[in-house]
């Protein structure tokens, strides 16, 4: 990190190779849009380059990078929502369902519904869920990243799952209704 803060390009490139995939995939889980995930990743690495000298090793490098990624993703989504709210045309507000390129074909529809449900979670539940289940991080590390106790993270995950089941249940009901409407 010292080398990066002193402007070493090889050190920065090595760091990028180590963390780019984690940053990009986390950003993609939040943004649910590949171009937006690129923009967030760019912002994350710019912040890392700028603040490399501030890293004192109080947390692990992994925790530090994830913390920056989570903050950059949440900031980006807030800005995007503001833009959509201010947009006059409805097309800008209604974005199509996200289909993750890594999802198996037979799971695409359900995964789309799942992403839609994740999007509606409050930020803290969303972060706990993404880091625990999509990034597959140990609960203790999620707690470090979110600066919370292990118990608090477990409680967030429980509420996130409850909310997701509720949202997915509503989506299922809507699907059934719309199918019945079409057949009548």
């Amino acid at each position: 990190m010292t080398a990066i803060s002193e402007g070493s390009t090889p050190a920065f490139r090595e760091f990028y190779q180590l963390f780019a995939e984690k940053v990009y995939n986390t950003a993609l889980s939040y943004a649910q849009h590949q171009q937006d995930a690129e923009e967030i990743s760019q912002e994350v690495f710019l912040r890392i380059h700028k603040y490399a000298g501030n890293f004192k090793g109080q947390s692990s490098l992994n925790t530090w990078v994830y913390r920056i990624t989570v903050n950059a993703s949440l900031d980006f989504i807030k800005r995007r929502n503001k833009r959509s709210f201010g947009a006059w045309n409805q097309a800008a507000i209604e974005t199509p369902d996200f289909v993750h390129p890594g999802v198996l074909l037979e799971k695409k529809e359900m995964a789309g519904a799942m992403y839609k449900a994740i999007e509606t979670l409050p930020d803290s539940q969303k972060t706990a869920f993404i880091l625990s289940f999509l990034e597959d991080l140990p609960r203790q590390e999620v707690a470090h990243i979110m600066d919370l106790s292990l118990k608090a993270v477990e409680s967030l995950l429980q509420r996130a799952k409850q909310n997701l089941r509720k949202k997915l249940g509503n989506m299922y009901d809507q699907r059934v209704k719309s199918r019945q409407g079409k057949s009548n």
């Binding site: 390009t9 780019a20 990009y24 690129e38 690495f45 710019l46 359900m110 995964a111 999509l134 299922y172």
Partner: protein, 95 residues
């Protein structure tokens, strides 16, 4: 009906398990490095060059303003009138 719903919900809940990890696009690092270069603060040498250029422009500007004022000096106009007058007798040959 309710059983179908529960099954669908549980299947959706596990639909993201074992999701394939994606690699960021190859051009991303280039873009980041370009942006870093653009955001880098100016070095001392570059700052001195900019300061010298600004000072030079200000001096030129000041010199131009002084020069314009001097040419609009009434005394200078009078003098030029006098110079014209000195040539006037020569035109009288056409009368």
């Amino acid at each position: 009906m309710e059983q179908d719903k529960d099954k669908w919900v549980e299947e959706a809940m596990s639909s993201l398990e074992g999701l394939e990890r994606l690699s960021p696009p190859s051009h991303l690092l280039d873009e980041i490095e370009k942006e870093i270069g653009r955001r880098q603060p100016l070095s001392l040498r570059q700052r001195l060059l900019v300061a010298a250029a600004v000072a030079g422009l200000l001096l030129l500007n000041g010199w131009a303003v002084v020069g314009t004022n001097a040419s609009q000096d009434p005394l200078a106009v009078e003098q030029s009138t006098d110079e014209t007058a000195s040539y006037l007798p020569n035109y009288q040959i056409y009368e």
